[in-house]
């Protein structure tokens, strides 16, 4: 792997007078940026087949006509064009762009992007949105065509949903994460400051190199490295960010409680509602809607009301400081980075992370490199998850900030509900999570003088986590019998977990160049890659718990009256062989083919290999189009086919019982989810066809360069495993089995263009667009998979919302196709409301189709995902950039809203407080905000079409002003560079979605149960009382020394 940052291509040549006057002999030398000779660079006489390659010392000799052009090219470097004139002498300026034009991921060896036969997206740290603060995912958001990288919550360190290319399984879409060639577990923990660039391979066509773990694609991060003989560069960045959740009013301003003549809301005893000394309000009465069908939500509160979103979510601050030093000596290069992130949470407390990283390369003798990359991450947080359900459903007259006589915020807000004021939790609950992660990567590489390169990598990812969860003894608090946590007398639980993942990779490369090595005329280069890959995943966890703590501090498990503890262990191993052969013909075309075979402890009964084939081809018509090269300097068409796997969990294939302690004894029982001893890998087969082209439409300042890349892909994932429901009479709820097939296809397009490049102004545009669609062609025994509002139906798109629908015509028929829902004689009692629903004229209630009469209404996955980034630099000092993300065609199931439709009244707390209740509806000529109408839509929180909403949105993801102040420090000896940046993230959103944030969705059932790990569908798209994303304003300072 070649990793220079700069290229200096110097050609020294002399002209010799030939025998014939129009033939000259040019000699020269090709060197890299450190002055080292480049062996094997191709020197072609443009428009001809005359070519040669540079010798071991970088020199070359070629005969050509006078006034011809020479093209010098080498993998990893931009080709350079020069006139072959007599007596010419040139020193070339290095091209800083060239490095991102080399990719490794998915092809195994460093390959010029021009010769890469697959779709590999590259994101350079220079292209990161300036508002990227906390993690790498923020940087990738909107940068990769077709990839859906979604931050679904504003909670610090919340995981992202990453779907690189369509839906591939029923289990999850998370790709393989690699850092400098070695697997790493936690993308969240990587410091964005150490990233040089990121390569993303979206599917199996490239992911096949990673075998049993490659089917969901690969994100590979390359960390910053120093340069041999490089100058020491020190830089310092400091950022501060002010964060607020995205919010707008979703709650009603009016009410429909029983009131007296003064407008006072009355409780069950006929008295005005009031709060007692402990902070509990009496519950208001509601006129019984069954006997008051015309009840309207039209009364004003005559007592103070509070905005609970505002009270619950505070403004938070995020601070980031980062220092790095990069440089090198004549035998070593080094890069060092240290960062500190402190991120306040809008709900409570904070998250902090300290990262330190060393990347050191030693080059003791020619051809040999030893590299060690170490990352240490120390994380800490004391975040509480809180409960937004209770926040949104509390009576509006409850003041969340009210404190009782002891100075405490009370738990219960009203008499009979079991809902608590979220803000009271932190008085009694502390949660301290500390994590240490050490990621170490050793890399030995030796390039033999000819043909052979050997490379060995060994990496480990060690994570040690300590969680301490303390609920103090609450037996003496004001509201007797109420408490946070599992026990009134307190509970302290300490959990220790350790993860130790190892990855060893040994690769051998055999390279030949027919011209150079065999003195053939054929411009053929071959690379044979043989690799062995070994992975071992180790996890262990222990917890100990003390229940019943003393009323006085400190709380210890030793001092607890009841003690509890437990443990869990998991180990998995996979290993596999890879052989891959690549043949390139000059820069014109190339083919490759390979096979990978993997063994794993978790599949194939631990002895049967999973084998994956691969083949690629590319062709560059631009090589044959000398006349057109001025506007189309580079054009490639490519096709790739590959297969890769998705692994089950470590012990999924083993038949075991459930063991539990019961009292002082043990029990053994049948598990309710049956495992399966014949479980094998799910395998994804992908065909990808694409083209990459560089256009130079105009010479001059306007539109002088545009790079286009487009791919069509088609995938089929077979033998997807799932927890398939089975008949309970078998003794099991479900059985894990390889049952389903998903076929998907899509198009990814990207365009990067320099719109204007003048002396004072540059304007660059990047656009990304991806379309995808996935169809489930086969599922478990043909039985629909039903999970909350989601359904997976054979022959249909994945991620469907499968719902009951209000009747829309008076004569609508039942599923039998002949019986009307409303008999002919009854139809006069119904009318079509202004919302288009059949409504009973006397009760004002709508009528849904039957529970067995469901229809598809929208799907969770977008039709396309796109982004547009503009970057304008004025006078080389001020840069303005903005990024829009546009997600289109998806629906969101707004369970939050459905819960806010829940009937209110009597005891048990708040409901019927969606802002929709304030809106009038017309039923049989009467227009009013009928409570019964809205409550009848509630449908017992069963999936229903009124809550399926358009989830499309356009979001101004990033708006930044970067001002380069370097000219003011030009006289400083210490400071070389100084920039200040002002940034806004998520400043504006255009959407028809009615909830707080169209990105704040997940996989939830109607009661908020997280379905994402149930292996019945990798669903997202349900809004259930989450923490919305943040609107942030940032200021940062970057100093180079």
């Amino acid at each position: 792997m070649r990793r220079p940052l700069l290229v200096v291509l110097v050609i020294l040549f002399a002209c010799m007078q030939g025998m014939a006057q129009d033939l000259i002999t040019v000699t020269g030398k090709v060197i890299d940026e450190k002055g080292a000779a480049i062996t094997g660079a191709t020197i072609t006489v443009k428009g001809t087949r005359t070519a040669t390659t540079s010798r071991d010392d970088g020199t070359f000799t070629i005969s050509t006509k006078n006034k011809a052009k020479l093209v010098i090219s080498y993998v990893g470097y931009d080709p350079y064009e020069v006139d072959a004139k007599e007596g010419l002498k040139i020193t070339l300026i290095p091209n800083s762009q060239s490095l991102s034009d080399v990719v490794v991921t998915g092809v195994g060896v460093a390959t010029s992007k021009k010769l890469v036969p697959i779709d590999v997206a590259t994101v350079s740290s220079k292209d990161f949105a300036p508002s990227t603060t906390t993690n790498v995912q923020q940087a990738l958001d909107g940068q990769i065509a077709g990839a859906n990288i979604q931050q679904t919550s504003g909670t610090p360190n919340a995981p992202f949903n990453i779907t690189l290319r369509g839906i591939n399984s029923l289990d999850g879409t998370n790709p393989l994460i690699m850092v400098d060639g070695v697997e790493m577990d936690n993308l969240n923990n990587i410091d964005p400051a150490i990233v040089d660039h990121i390569e993303v391979v979206k599917g199996a066509a490239g992911g096949m190199l990673y075998g049993a773990q490659g089917a969901n694609g690969v994100i590979q991060i390359f960390t910053k490295k120093g340069n041999l003989n490089g100058k020491l560069i020190i830089s310092y960045t400091s950022k501060v960010s002010i964060d607020d959740i995205l919010k707008h009013n979703i709650l009603s301003n009016l009410h429909h409680y029983v009131t007296n003549a003064n407008g006072d809301i009355l409780d069950q005893n006929g008295n005005p509602v009031a709060m007692d000394a402990t902070g509990q309000w009496s519950d208001p009465q509601v006129p019984d809607p069954t006997v008051n069908p015309n009840l309207q939500n039209n009364l004003k509160f005559n007592l103070p009301t509070y905005n609970h979103l505002k009270q619950g979510f505070r403004q938070a601050m995020t601070f980031t400081n980062s220092v790095s030093a990069i440089g090198g000596t004549n035998v070593a290069d080094y890069a060092f980075t240290a960062s500190q992130l402190t991120q306040g949470d809008v709900l409570s407390n904070q998250f902090s992370r300290s990262n330190i990283s060393f990347n050191i390369g030693l080059h003791p003798f020619k051809g040999f490199t030893f590299r060690t990359i170490t990352q240490g991450v120390v994380g800490y947080n004391d975040l509480l998850t809180g409960n937004r359900f209770d926040m949104l459903t509390a009576y509006p007259f409850v003041n969340f900030d009210w404190k009782d006589g002891t100075g405490h915020i009370p738990l219960k807000t009203n008499v009979s509900s079991n809902s608590y004021n979220t803000l009271s939790e932190k008085q009694y609950h502390t949660n301290n999570n500390q994590g240490l992660e050490i990621f170490q990567d050793f890399d030995l590489d030796y390039k033999f003088p000819a043909f052979v390169e050997l490379d060995a990598k060994y990496g480990f990812d060690y994570t040690d986590t300590t969680k301490s969860d303390l609920y103090v003894n609450q037996s003496e608090i004001v509201q007797a019998g109420q408490y946070w946590g599992p026990n009134e007398d307190g509970d302290l639980k300490q959990t220790f977990s350790r993860e130790f993942n190892q990855n060893g990779l040994f690769s051998g490369f055999l390279r030949t160049d027919f011209q150079k090595d065999f003195h053939s005329n054929l411009p053929i280069r071959t690379t044979t890659q043989v690799a062995y890959d070994y992975r071992k995943y180790n996890y262990e966890q222990y917890f100990s718990e003390g229940i019943g703590l003393p009323i006085y501090p400190p709380a210890t498990i030793t001092g607890a009256t009841t003690k509890n503890s437990g443990d869990y262990y998991s180990t998995a191993i996979t290993y596999g062989w890879l052989i891959n052969q690549t043949i390139d013909y000059a820069n014109l075309f190339g083919i490759s083919g390979g096979v990978r075979s993997d063994y794993g402890s978790a599949f194939g009964a631990a002895y049967k290999a999973a084998t994956f084939p691969r083949g690629t081809v590319y062709f560059r018509p631009s090589e044959l189009m000398p006349g057109q090269q001025s506007w189309l300097p580079d054009w490639k068409v490519r096709a790739a086919y590959g297969a890769a796997g998705i692994q089950p969990f470590p012990y999924d294939r083993q038949l075991t019982f459930t063991s539990a302690a019961l009292g002082n004894g043990n029990s053994i029982s049948l598990p309710s989810q049956a495992t399966n001893d014949s479980l094998h890998l799910a395998t994804n087969y992908e065909l990808e066809i694409g083209t990459d082209a560089t256009f130079k439409p105009f010479q001059g300042e306007w539109l002088d360069r545009a790079v286009f890349s487009g791919s069509y892909w088609h995938r089929e994932t077979k033998e997807i495993y799932q927890n398939a429901d089975v008949a309970p009479s078998t003794g099991y709820a479900s059985r894990l089995d390889n049952l389903s097939t998903i076929v998907s296809h899509g198009i990814d397009l990207s365009l990067d263009a320099t719109v204007y490049n003048g002396p004072k102004v540059t304007w660059n545009v990047s656009a990304r667009w991806g379309y995808s669609r996935a169809i489930v062609t086969k599922i478990s025994n043909g039985q629909d998979i039903i999970n909350g509002g989601f359904a997976v139906i054979q022959g249909k798109q994945i991620g469907l919302f499968y719902v009951q629908t209000p009747l829309k015509s008076l004569g609508q028929l039942e599923p039998d196709g002949k019986t009307p829902y409303i008999s002919a004689s009854q139809q006069s009692q119904y009318a079509i409301s202004s919302t288009g629903y059949v409504t009973n004229k006397s009760t004002n209630m709508i009528m849904y189709t039957a529970a067995n009469d469901l229809s598809v209404d929208g799907h969770a996955y977008p039709d396309f995902i796109s982004s547009l980034t503009n970057r304008v630099t004025l006078f080389k000092t001020l840069t303005v950039s903005f990024q829009f993300d546009w997600i289109h065609g998806n629906s969101i199931y707004n369970t939050t809203k459905q819960w806010l439709y829940t009937p209110v009244g009597g005891s048990g707390g708040m409901g019927a407080n969606s802002k929709d209740f304030d809106k009038p509806v017309t039923i049989a000529g009467n227009t009013a905000s009928f409570v019964n109408y809205y409550q009848s839509l509630y449908n017992l929180v069963n999936p229903a079409s009124p809550f399926v909403e358009n989830g499309s949105f356009i979001r101004l993801r990033d708006l930044s002003l970067i001002y380069d102040l370097s000219r003011f420090v030009v006289n400083s000896r210490a400071i070389k560079r100084l920039t200040v940046t002002a940034t806004g993230r998520n400043l504006m959103t255009w959407t028809k979605y009615d909830g707080l944030d169209p990105e704040n969705t997940g996989a939830y059932g109607s009661q908020g149960n997280d379905l994402s790990h149930s292996r019945t569908g990798a669903f997202s798209g349900v809004d259930y009382f989450g923490t919305p994303n943040l609107r942030s304003y940032q200021f940062s300072l970057n100093v180079g020394f």
Partner: protein, 559 residues
């Protein structure tokens, strides 16, 4: 330098040579026992027998582990109108969807059910879909008893494995374990046959192998017959052994310590309990109005050889902090024990006003066990129906009560008790015209529970008055013991009002807005409740979807 160079190069491949043997892939799950190794030892087979309780808990997609047994207990109690749960968690409130409540004069208002579903059957059928997920209330009882049944089947199969070696009095131990399995099968089929319109018989010996299930649905009477057949198998085994030290040791090993495992149920007690259970099956599944002398004599015959005062039964308790019990709120979503749901913290269930009104004046069990709800009454919770209201809460066990706890105390009987047996004899006596004999048995039960009530037997009550005493005593004396629903059904209370069902003068805490306006306090009024509940539930769709009824099956749904 060269030495370093070549040794490095040679070492590279060697790094990996040790890591490519298939043997390293054999990584047995270190967290869980395997069928092969665990069931051939005595400790393993005892643990598997105790696993009958662990099967109360099962995995529900999205929810994680739930105690299904507790859910069915809650729901039956709700339908029996002794407790109520107004919340839709796990569909708990839907089976308590009463058709209407009529206020007394002068109001005479008919309050229909606010759910929009006219009857309980309508709402249960609307929720009996796989889409409804955990809102389908009728799935828990079906699921849990088939899960336990499979555990029992597998236990029976494992006991026949010649590799299994039992120490000491191996014959007694093996018979006890076999009888334990048959008893639980009898328990499961009793519950299924008493609740569903049709069910399946699955006696396949090894449930570790999936797919062995029947698709012929049998009418509930056939399921009950099979329950009794399994009880007979257990009875034969119990009759062939006597209690000895090995019996006691095995008994204590298969009952969790928090379930009173030192109260040894002897073979004779098992025999009496089985007879009581058979009598319950008979009683619970016959409408009183349709029972003649021969039916009552059948009950009497069984109950006469049933449980006596002092007989132990199966209990369900808790451990301090719910550690390693069946109610652990850390691993389960809620604390799952009937007594933990009723406290003011969890507040998932509440005591019904209709239970409170069934206390006879002066009953010491009322003052001991119930008090006013802290902070005021519970009224028409979230407008889900005015039946969901109460002024009372059970007094915590730690404060001297019996039916609720905030500190994991108390034992709930989950199998028949002496009182139930006695009251079956009393009911049979009353209907067989031995009224005072029946009433004297009621008095015995009241004395047994320290009710402190004057004797009923000496008053020369009429049949109706005696029946009223019996109803009152079954409601109070057998509160939270899993029979309230059976009683409501067989007494005709849950039948539609149009067929003579319903409960007149039923206490309901009526919101003020229904009786004169908002300034009127919520008031207890004697109302008429038209429950209109279906007698036997449909088969849950989560079974039928994967195991469609074969030709010749009994109907699986109410029409």
């Amino acid at each position: 330098m060269k030495l370093i160079k070549y040794s490095v190069i040679l070492l590279l491949p060697a790094l990996f040579l040790g890591a490519c043997k298939k043997a390293i892939l054999q990584l047995p799950n270190p967290n869980a026992p395997t069928p092969g190794a665990s069931l051939i030892t005595e400790g393993g087979i005892d643990a598997f027998a105790m696993g009958m309780y662990e099967k109360f808990i099962a995995y529900e997609a999205g929810d994680g582990d739930l105690n299904f047994f507790d859910l069915q207990w809650l729901i039956e109690s709700n339908m029996g109108d002794e407790n109520f749960s107004p919340y839709s968690n796990y569909g708990g409130r839907y089976p308590m969807n009463v058709a209407s409540i009529t206020l007394p004069a002068p109001y005479n208002t008919v309050v229909p059910n606010p759910s929009g579903y006219a009857t309980q059957l309508d709402i249960l059928q609307a929720e009996n879909t796989r889409t409804a997920g955990d809102g389908n209330a009728i799935q828990w009882e079906w699921d849990v008893f088939y899960y336990v049944n499979s555990q029992a089947n597998t236990l029976l199969g494992a006991l026949n494995n010649p590799s299994l070696v039992l120490s000491g009095d191996a014959v007694t131990k093996k018979k006890l374990l076999q009888a334990w399995a048959y008893y639980w099968k009898g328990y499961c089929y009793s519950k299924l046959g008493s609740m569903y319109i049709a069910a399946l018989i699955d006696d396949s010996p090894d449930s570790t192998n999936l797919g062995l299930t029947s698709n012929v649905y049998l009418a509930n009477s056939a399921i009950l017959a099979d329950a009794n057949a399994n009880f007979s198998q257990a009875l034969t085994l119990f009759n062939s052994i006597t209690e000895d030290a090995d019996y006691d040791a095995t008994f204590e090993a298969i009952i969790p310590t928090f379930n009173e495992n030192t109260q040894i149920i002897t073979p004779a007690m098992w025999g009496r309990q089985i007879h009581t259970f058979e009598a319950r099956n008979e009683l619970a599944n016959h409408k009183v109005a349709a029972m003649g002398a021969s039916d009552w004599n059948t009950i009497l015959n069984l109950a006469d050889s049933g449980m006596v005062a002092g007989d132990y039964t199966l209990e369900w308790g808790m451990t301090p902090g719910d550690v390693n019990d069946l109610s652990d709120p850390v691993t389960l979503t809620y604390p799952f024990h009937p007594y933990e749901l009723d406290n003011a913290k969890t507040a998932l269930t509440f005591v019904s006003e209709r239970l409170i009104q069934d206390f006879q004046p002066g009953d010491a069990r009322f003052t001991k066990n119930f008090g006013l709800y802290p902070g005021g009454s519970i009224v028409n919770v979230r407008s889900r129906g005015i039946q969901f209201g109460t002024r009372y809460i059970p007094t915590y066990i730690e404060d001297g009560g019996s039916f609720a706890t905030n500190e994991q105390m108390g034992y709930c009987p989950i199998a028949p008790t002496y009182e139930e047996n006695a009251l079956m004899i009393a009911e049979a006596d009353i209907y067989l015209s031995n009224i005072s004999q029946g009433l004297s048995i009621i008095d015995q039960v009241r004395a047994y529970q320290n009710a402190g009530l004057p004797p009923a037997a000496s008053h020369g009550l009429t049949l109706d008055s005696a029946v009223a005493q019996l109803h009152s005593e079954r409601r109070i004396g057998l509160y939270d013991r899993g029979v309230a629903w059976y009683d409501a059904r067989r007494w005709g209370i849950t039948a539609p009002a149009s067929s003579g069902g319903g409960r007149a003068n039923a206490n309901v805490l009526v919101p003020g807005s229904l009786i004169g306006g908002g300034s009127t306090p919520a008031t207890i009024l004697p109302c008429f409740i038209n429950y209109d509940f279906v007698d036997y539930w449909d088969v849950p769709q989560n079974e039928l979807a994967f195991n469609p009824a074969a030709a010749g099956s009994a109907p699986t749904a109410n029409q």
